[in-house]
């Protein structure tokens, strides 16, 4: 995984861009994400069905992984069965 890589969900419309890369496998809707969508769409695990929001950033607990949602979907993001959480909004510039 490299910063800038795009990952697609195997079970919903979600697409993310990797902002901070970590050596982990990212799941969406309970299924592994990959550079390409599989020909046949899988089923969303109800435990990971909270959805993703366009433009939002998602991070792991340690803050080593950061993903930007570039296309929203019904599945939610997780690593090793632990849900990723929303990152707070960017602070504004002190002046522009």
């Amino acid at each position: 995984m490299k910063p800038g890589t795009k990952l697609k969900s195997a079970v919903c419309d979600t697409e993310v861009m990797v902002i901070k890369a970590a050596d982990v496998a990212v799941d969406c809707g309970g299924a592994p994400m990959a550079a390409e969508r599989p020909a046949e769409r899988g089923v969303i695990d109800p435990a990971f069905a909270a959805g993703t929001k366009m433009g939002k950033r998602y991070v792991d607990e340690a803050g080593t992984l950061e993903l930007l949602c570039v296309k929203a979907g019904q599945g939610s993001l997780s690593v090793g069965g632990v849900a990723l959480k929303l990152k707070d909004a960017k602070p504004l510039p002190a002046s522009d």
Binding site: K2, I19, K53, G55, P93, A94, D96
Partner: protein, 394 residues
């Protein structure tokens, strides 16, 4: 050499004259465009910019096929650069490394990726739709006779353009309530204290916790009590607060809602981030400077901000006083593009001469402008309790 004028200051002059005529305000009539465009630089002691903006946050970089303005003013912006360049070896704190990464890539790709990443970026020769309107109607409400008093303005915006618009309305006699998030106050309080005080003097300060349902209810009540709302957030920020600006306008006769954006309120552009310097570049101002002087650079200090501020004040007052309830979308880059078109139509040679003088003066102190007086500034959230109490009684 002549002392350079800030290009497009004459456009701000004309807008001020319209506002003075419409409001009858002596305070507005006493203002001039050059002051509005140059007063932040005066207070900050900035110099006439070349490839680094007067405020320092935005920089021009050469890509393979065009020059880009990339604004990295926010503390987190640089964290997005590895994803922008698809590189995990880039030193994001090193502007020379950033310049080298941009030099090896095409402008169009970088602009598209940056906008996806929420970075403020623009290309010098960006394809800009001709004849674009700086102000569009996003929703129309019922007309209502304006009350026989000055308007009440609820300002949800931050930084420069929106707060300048409400400041001008305050000078013209309006009651202005500045609403800020407790978690995310207007960052210019800390960054640019004296200038912040200039723009926000005399306004009432309400600070709310946007994650608290009582405070959100208070926010809705405040908006419902307003004659004019000024807001400059991206669509999803309002949606998260459960606020539908167009619905508010349709439900509240006479309400004027000003939505300020970087590049437009509709379609994909609604999500693009834009600040004053990069929006000026997007509008073609640096391309005009380049064509006139042979050298690219920034024109003015975050020029899209003050031009948009005075433009928004005129539109807001005009709509309110005519009783036309509406939600108006005002895009900073479109305001500058419009001003640029006007300046060329009026006196193309004179404008080109101004741009040449500006370019030749790069590195000199900013043109001298009038220093305006600054009145008392309320403490952060000073009026929150009295407004919450008023809301609770309703």
């Amino acid at each position: 050499m002549n002392d350079p004028q800030i290009p497009l200051a004459v456009c701000a002059d004309r807008l001020l004259a319209r506002l003075a005529g419409a409001t009858g305000s002596q305070a507005i009539a006493a203002l001039d465009g050059q002051t509005l465009l140059g007063e932040r630089a005066l207070l900050a002691g900035s110099r006439i910019p070349a490839r680094i903006s007067a405020g320092g946050g935005c920089r021009l970089f050469d890509a393979l096929d065009d020059t880009l303005a990339l604004n990295l003013a926010r503390p987190d912006d640089r964290e997005s650069l590895p994803a922008l360049f698809e590189s995990d070896t880039l030193d994001v704190g090193d502007d020379e490394a950033i310049a080298a990464a941009i030099a090896a890539r095409h402008a169009g790709t970088l602009v598209a990726r940056s906008r996806l990443l929420g970075l403020a970026i623009a290309a010098e020769h960006e394809a800009f739709p001709a004849g674009i309107a700086p102000c569009i109607e996003l929703a129309r409400g019922a007309a209502a006779q304006p009350p026989p008093r000055a308007p009440r303005v609820v300002d949800l915006s931050a930084l420069w353009a929106g707060p300048l618009a409400s400041h001008l309305l305050w000078l013209a006699g309006a009651e202005v309530i500045k609403v800020e998030s407790r978690r995310r106050p207007d960052a210019m309080r800390e960054g640019d204290g004296e200038f912040y005080a200039l723009l926000n003097q005399g306004k009432q300060s309400v600070a709310l916790d946007f994650k608290d349902t009582t405070d959100l209810h208070a926010l809705r009540s405040l908006i419902a009590s307003a004659d004019i709302v000024i807001e400059a957030s991206r669509p999803r920020a309002l949606a998260q607060l459960g606020i539908d600006a167009s619905a508010f306008v349709r439900d509240t006769p006479g309400l004027v809602w000003i939505t300020i954006t970087g590049h437009g309120a509709n379609g994909a552009a609604a999500d693009w981030v834009g600040f004053g310097d990069d929006c000026g570049v997007a509008a073609g101002l640096s391309a005009a400077l380049h064509a006139a002087s042979g050298r690219t650079g920034f024109v003015g200090d975050a020029i899209a901000d003050p031009l948009t501020g005075v433009f928004a004040a005129v539109e807001a007052w005009q709509a309110w006083s005519s009783g036309c309830g509406a939600r108006l979308g005002i895009a900073m880059s479109h305001v500058v593009a419009h001003a640029l078109t006007q300046a060329r139509a009026e006196d193309a040679d004179g404008f080109a001469r101004q741009l040449r003088d500006w370019s030749a003066a790069a590195g000199q102190p900013f043109p001298e402008v009038r220093k305006r007086s600054i009145g008392p500034l309320p403490a952060f959230g000073e009026h929150t309790r009295s407004f919450l109490a008023r809301v609770a009684r309703c």
